[in-house]
């Protein structure tokens, strides 16, 4: 088994055994979405109009929750030093971490997103577009988030710092993700928006692990 798959399997096994972390992120996501009707009123047409944006923002925030521990725990107990000594390229270590975050947090949020969208009265025909856009968007966020987590290793207040670093960079994904759903609701072409999201994911896939790897190297030196 290559070190990359070994790291990924280890992280997924840890996520499976501490399933509470994933459940907490999903519960936070549904709760955050559920707060909006109290904030803006329960009018169905209003909720339908803001549904896509609310689901997206809540998913972004929920996906940030486990990022702090994603690398932090390994940094503190020395696992990260072992990983850096394993001969695996630091960028691949970061890539394995990003994949683990996406599989253990992104995918569960993705599965919960139809429930959240229905709670906000989003028309059902827009649901597949929302899930497809969120699938690409959560991948981008996992990659950006891993880079952010690697940058804040060893920092004071890392948990507060992380969203400050990552969220501004996630704005383009948010814009195109919500635009895709709006296009579907308006009967317009959805593919350009999804193609832009896919392009962002394709750009983030090599670049973010590269940056995160450099940060991991700086943190463990």
């Amino acid at each position: 088994m290559s070190p990359f798959w070994g790291m990924l399997r280890r992280d997924l096994a840890l996520a499976r055994r501490n399933a509470g972390d994933t459940l907490a992120a999903v519960a936070f996501f549904l709760l955050a979405v559920g707060l909006f009707p109290f904030g803006v009123g329960p009018a169905p047409e209003l909720l339908a109009r803001i549904a896509a944006g609310v689901v997206w923002v809540a998913a972004l925030l929920a996906a940030l929750l486990p990022l702090d521990r994603l690398l932090g725990a390994d940094f503190e107990d020395g696992t990260l030093d072992q990983a850096m000594l394993s001969g695996l390229d630091p960028a691949m270590v970061a890539g394995a971490k990003a994949a683990a975050h996406w599989l253990s947090t992104g995918v569960p949020l993705l599965l919960a997103s139809p429930v959240a969208a229905i709670m906000l009265n989003l028309p059902l025909d827009a649901l597949p577009v929302l899930v497809a856009a969120l699938a690409l968007g959560s991948l981008v966020l996992s990659l950006l988030g891993t880079a952010g987590a690697a940058l804040t290793l060893g920092a004071r207040r890392g948990g507060v710092l992380l969203p400050l670093l990552v969220l501004p960079l996630a704005i383009p994904a948010l814009i195109f993700g919500v635009a895709a759903v709006d296009a579907a609701l308006g009967g317009l072409a959805v593919r350009p928006h999804l193609a832009m999201l896919a392009a962002m994911a394709a750009a983030a896939l090599p670049l973010c692990p590269l940056a995160a790897g450099a940060a991991l190297k700086a943190a463990t030196e």
Binding site: A155, R156, L161, L165, P172
Partner: protein
């Protein structure tokens, strides 16, 4: 090896790295910047005051916007410095990452707050202008939003460079963050433009003749040059202070490591 070589070693080829090394010597930097700083500051102040007086008092009013247009003489140069400052931050970070120059690390750390302040000035003056012109303090227009994101990138950089107990540990993460931001800024700019556009398109840099009258352009350019010198003077001053801080820290660490020995060593 037997004895020194007969001929002195040939001077190194003048690569970019070597050229940088020449100026990375903190002693040489302190001498050069110390000589340059008063001139930069004086030129910046003189040009800014001239340009602002020219723009705020003597330039003609706009036929549509009246006196409100005068806020542009602060707003536009501040916006130039906000963007130029991030370029400077990214360049310093790149040099710090690739050639590992402590001086570039210090410069990046010290440029960021100056850039953030100019970005804030740009946002505040834009908001003051928006109230009479657009009827609202803030609109989620594409340009305003990208400048706001730029401000958040600066704030994130400042927060990260101050988040480590050992300031020197912060240099590399902060530099990587600055470069991630530099790669992302065009993407953010493009997506925000796609998202919403209300702000007028660029009128100074468009091809052909500038879209604004020469009476307004001239004081604008003078103020822009003045702001550039002020920015450079502030960044230089902060970098000098950063170097002195680092020296003071190193001295204090050395003194603390020294066992409390002779009184002559303590009383310096």
């Amino acid at each position: 090896m037997d004895g020194p070589p007969a001929t002195p070693p040939a001077p190194k080829a003048p690569t970019l790295g070597n050229a940088l090394h020449r100026f990375a010597n903190p002693g040489r930097f302190m001498r050069l910047s110390g000589a340059l700083l008063p001139w930069l500051a004086a030129a910046g102040l003189a040009l800014s005051v001239t340009g602002l007086a020219w723009g705020l008092v003597f330039a003609p009013r706009d036929w549509q916007q009246g006196d409100t247009v005068r806020i542009m003489f602060i707003h536009v140069p501040a916006a130039w410095m906000a963007m130029g400052g991030y370029v400077g931050l990214a360049v310093a970070s790149f040099i710090g990452l690739v050639w590992r120059h402590p001086l570039a690390d210090i410069a990046a750390r010290e440029i960021a707050p100056v850039g953030a302040v100019f970005t804030a000035i740009c946002l505040i003056t834009g908001s003051l202008w928006g109230k009479p012109m657009w009827g609202t303090w803030w609109v989620w227009d594409a340009r305003l939003t990208s400048v706001l994101v730029l401000f958040f990138l600066y704030v994130g950089h400042i927060a990260l460079s101050n988040a480590f107990d050992d300031p020197e540990r912060a240099a590399r993460p902060a530099a990587i963050l600055a470069l991630i931001g530099a790669v992302n800024l065009p993407i953010i700019k493009f997506s925000v433009d796609w998202w919403n556009t209300l702000h007028q398109p660029a009128s100074v840099t468009r091809l052909g003749a500038p879209g604004i009258h020469v009476d307004i352009l001239q004081p604008l350019l003078v103020t822009g040059l003045g702001f550039l010198f002020v920015f450079a003077a502030l960044a230089l001053l902060r970098t000098r202070t950063g170097i002195l801080e680092r020296r003071a820290r190193a001295l204090m660490a050395a003194r603390a490591a020294e066992p409390a020995a002779t009184p002559s060593a303590v009383a310096v």
